[in-house]
């Protein structure tokens, strides 16, 4: 099995659904970071067979809500002095604002850059309800 360097201080974004690693790499603009970054694709996973992993040295500040919508399988390890000091699993946030736009063309927020609705996760967990028009934008249609 491939040996990959572990990091001293920073974060490990683990259990990423295979294929999403590259997406996270680009959405978090990791190419612009001056610190060491490791993107591991199709690593072995005891949980799911395969997984992607992203490790970032000297970096802690992750947008958890954003990652939760992007891939709710993710777990995040916070590393200090080579030890895990905190572990977080992301999940679909109950409320989000500013990340997603409403997909209902009849909504007042549609086509309006300055208007950002608050979205509430609906009980069927298949999407988010817009605070303005109350239409559900399904998770499948949320492209980050």
């Amino acid at each position: 099995m491939l040996k990959v360097a572990s990091i001293k201080n920073g974060v490990v974004i683990d259990h990423i659904t295979p294929g999403n690693g590259l997406k996270i790499f680009s959405k978090l603009n990791l190419k612009d970071i001056d610190e060491p970054v490791i993107l591991l694709r199709n690593a072995d996973s005891s949980k799911a067979g395969k997984k992607d992993v992203v490790k970032i040295e000297n970096f802690y500040d992750l947008p958890l809500e954003y990652l939760g919508i992007l891939d709710s399988n993710i777990t995040i390890n916070y590393i200090k002095d080579e030890k895990i000091i905190d572990k977080k699993s992301v999940s679909l946030p109950l409320k989000i604002k500013g990340i997603v736009k409403c997909k209902n063309p009849r909504c007042i927020s549609f086509e309006q850059k300055d208007v950002s609705p608050e979205f509430t996760l609906n009980n069927r967990e298949d999407g988010y309800i817009c605070s303005y028009c109350e239409e559900t934008t399904s998770l499948k249609r949320i492209k980050l």
Binding site: R106, C107, I108, S109, V115, S131, Y132, E134
Partner: protein, 311 residues
């Protein structure tokens, strides 16, 4: 009574207790108009109608004038910019310096809620696209409580296009909050209530059944609520012509209903209710339009003054 909400954007913004308060105040205003005829003197209602709706606008204007207030507004804004939502907040910010309360009609869904975030004065939603029309719901409830004595333990039949037109949906949801009501939902199978509403009604524990046959479904109804079936909703003319006649309320249909059944319609009607029905005492839709003025009076008064104690 002070309402919990400063604005009225959604029909569920009001609690049952607050609704009750508004019904009682509207009733008192109807009984004793002189007492309130000057109570909002010096106050101005702004009417921001980004799309025309003569009926709603006149009902609000009548309400404000009957309270001794004045009205100021427009009903013919540039349609194309309204459709894009442009200029809504600028207009709202300017108008809130010109008036003490405003009613907004706008084609975009959620426009009133957005406006309420910018406005210093109370905003009333006068219809935001196909989304909400809370004062229509208030009118419906007030009419039923006035004519039937209460909003509980009644059989309601809704007929027409139950799929579109969310004013019906919000009246249905509002009635489902009261105890012991049963609903019969009569429509062509293509125009049944949407899945989310069915789910919501089930979750609220509402008792309802769906039917396609008007005559047999209304025999138990205390209230028959009719809505428009619009031609645009059908794929072809033939289907429309075939279906629409099965849902027209005429004297023959009424003969299947109870002697004291109340027939309501938000108006304007196209041909869902025959003119011959108008002379039947059960036809309540013109009384409904009139009662809509009193409930709007109660609402405007309460949002501005916090109730009749300050009258």
């Amino acid at each position: 009574m002070k309402l919990n909400c400063k604005h009225l954007c959604h029909s569920l913004d009001l609690s049952l207790e607050e609704l009750d308060y508004l019904f009682n105040l509207a009733k008192e205003m109807k009984k004793n108009p002189a007492k309130y005829s000057n109570s909002l003197a010096g106050h101005i209602l702004g009417t921001l109608f980004f799309e025309p709706s003569t009926r709603t606008r006149l009902s609000f204007e009548s309400a404000m004038l009957r309270l001794g207030g004045q009205v100021l507004g427009f009903s013919d804004s540039d349609q194309s910019s309204a459709k894009k939502g442009e200029g809504l907040w600028d207009t709202v910010r300017v108008m809130d310096g010109y008036c003490d309360i405003m009613v907004i009609r706008h084609p975009k869904e959620g426009s009133s809620l957005l406006a309420s975030e910018y406005s210093q004065v109370p905003v009333i939603n006068g219809g935001d696209g196909g989304h909400q029309h809370p004062t229509q719901t208030l009118t419906d409830l007030f009419t039923i409580v006035t004519e039937k004595g209460s909003l509980e333990n009644k059989n309601f039949a809704f007929v027409g296009d139950l799929k579109h037109g969310r004013t019906v949906h919000s009246t249905l949801l509002a009635l489902a909050r009261y105890k012991g009501n049963k609903f019969t939902l009569i429509s062509p199978s293509e125009l049944k209530i949407p899945a989310y509403l069915r789910e919501q009604l089930t979750k609220m524990g509402a008792e309802f059944e769906e039917s396609t046959d008007l005559k047999s479904a209304i025999s138990d109804a205390d209230v028959l609520y009719s809505t428009r079936i619009q031609k645009e909703r059908f794929f072809n003319e033939e289907d429309y012509l075939k279906l629409k006649d099965n849902y027209i309320i005429n004297n023959c249909v009424l003969s299947h209903g109870k002697k004291d059944m109340l027939v309501l319609h938000p108006l304007p009607r196209v041909n869902e209710i025959s003119i011959e029905v108008d002379s039947d005492p059960r036809a309540g839709f013109f009384r409904q339009a009139k009662l809509g003025v009193y409930i709007r009076m109660a609402l405007i008064h309460t949002l501005i003054k916090g109730g009749h104690t300050n009258a």
